[in-house]
Amino acid sequence: MAQTTPSPAPTLTVAPPAAVALSGVGKTFELSRGRAVSALEDLDLHVAEGEFVAIVGPSGCGKSTVLRMVAGLERPSTGTVVVEGRSPRELARSHRLGVAFQEHALLPWSSIRGNVALPFHLAGRPVDAARVDELVRLVGLEGFESARPRQLSGGMRQRAAIARALVLRPDVLLLDEPFGALDAVTRRRMNRELARIWSEERITTVLVTHDVEEALFLADRVVVMTGRPGRVRHVHRVDFPRPREAAITRSPEFHEAVDLLTGLLDAEGTA
């Protein structure tokens, strides 16, 4: 059943420090002629070290805004965002962040290998060719190292973007609907690949998605957000053992959880 608090460990009385901590975060966007829209209000979200959290919610509820604030691309209007004990910008400046957005944002003039190696260049570090090749292999793009992004399919580009996000072994990985543009079949395959990659790397991850099944398959916790202004409505703990296989998506527990979360989202959509 859903819980909002982590199950207490017998020897541990103090909760481990959160890798990502949003406390009382609000965000107001100024629109034209003095009008403003409140995108987020009093949002609390804590992600533990090595935890995978998925955020689902109705369109426009502020999911991307949450992610952009954790990435240091947007400042909260109220409240605080702390990542690995520092400000998000500091973490970004020390090259400890991995991001993949819905738009792959690969450099069109650069090869796939060049794109995956980009974080090394931006961090001013010598390119670890073996690591780049390992990531290219991990996302199943061997043989396409010298191809340009435009020569790849949409799904391959997104895999390249994920490889780029992972290549420096970031402390925190942020994914904003990385599979948003894909068909259901490719998407499920990508989910399995991401689950496999993630169980190898175990990076603190925040994933934004519209897809409840995707969230349940990948995450340790699924956060359901309310519509504008965005808040946390519900936190669902996912207890399927890892590494997860496609088989779990056919279990009755999985279907039950999908129904529960979909119901919550539907209620949000009509509210």
């Binding site: 240091g72 691309l73 991001v99 957005f101 450099l107 650069s110 974080p119 961090a123």
Partner: protein, 251 residues
């Protein structure tokens, strides 16, 4: 392929119709003695001695245009990069460029003749024309206007500093726009050099045009004009090919 062939055929037909029309107007003498039949202009250029005169003039103009273009590109790049590194200077640079561009060459010419001299005036006028276009192209190519893309977000999140952002994002991203500017700047440089030669330069197509006009050598006048047009078109064609190749590589 057939669509491209059809387009080429249409364009060729258009040019031929235009040439035939000009020839007909010249033969009929509708536009008076200053409009010769094109065949006479061609005959003028077929004569080896006369052709040598035009070719010598054209190579002088080409040299001025090329120097002017190069100088214009370099100065424009320097100005755009200054704006990039020192944002407070940007509005001032924009206004200076617009002002230089707005002053008519006729007004500038006496000033140029007294400062840089008759010989260098064509180069400077070519450089002014090309430089303004290139300044606009560099500025918009480097996104100095401040448009943010998802690439900027990725570079921010990956902690790119200013130099690395310039080298890995802004410069490569600016190439198509800069080359786009070059396709306009190259013909502008040819035009600028030709006009610059009107103000007492020792040689060049502009000089030929002015002296042919004063001595009523109509076919020479038209030969020089045709040659200037051909240079301008060649500059455009060459830079356009370069731009297309770059876009194919970069996009």
């Amino acid at each position: 392929m057939s669509a491209a062939a059809r387009r080429a055929a249409l364009a060729t037909t258009g040019v031929l119709v235009l040439l035939a029309g000009a020839e007909a107007v010249g033969r009929a003498g509708i536009a008076g003695p200053s409009w010769p039949p094109l065949s006479e202009v061609a005959a003028h250029l077929l004569d080896a001695d006369r052709r040598a005169t035009v070719v010598r003039a054209a190579s002088a103009t080409l040299a001025s245009a090329a120097e002017g273009l190069l100088a214009g590109v370099l100065v424009a790049a320097a100005a755009a990069f200054t704006g990039l590194l020192l944002p407070p200077l940007r509005p001032g640079l924009d206004r200076l460029a617009a002002l230089l561009h707005a002053v008519p060459v006729i007004a500038l010419a006496p000033l140029l003749i007294t400062t840089v001299g008759r010989e260098a005036t064509p180069t400077v006028v070519a450089g002014l024309g090309a430089g303004f276009v290139m300044f606009v192209a560099f500025s918009s190519g480097l996104s100095l206007g401040g448009r943010r893309s998802t690439h900027d977000d990725v570079f921010d999140a990956l902690g790119a500093n200013r130099v690395r952002r310039l080298l890995r994002l802004q410069l490569p991203a600016s190439v198509p726009t800069v080359l786009d500017g070059l396709t306009l700047a190259a013909p502008a440089a040819v035009l600028g050099a030709t006009i610059g030669e009107w103000f007492g330069a020792p040689r060049g197509l502009g000089v030929l045009i002015v002296s042919a006009m004063q001595n009523f050598q109509v076919t020479l006048l038209w030969s020089a004009a045709a040659c200037a047009t051909a240079l301008s078109l060649a500059a455009y064609g060459l830079t356009t090919a370069l731009q297309r190749a770059a876009v194919r590589r970069m996009a």
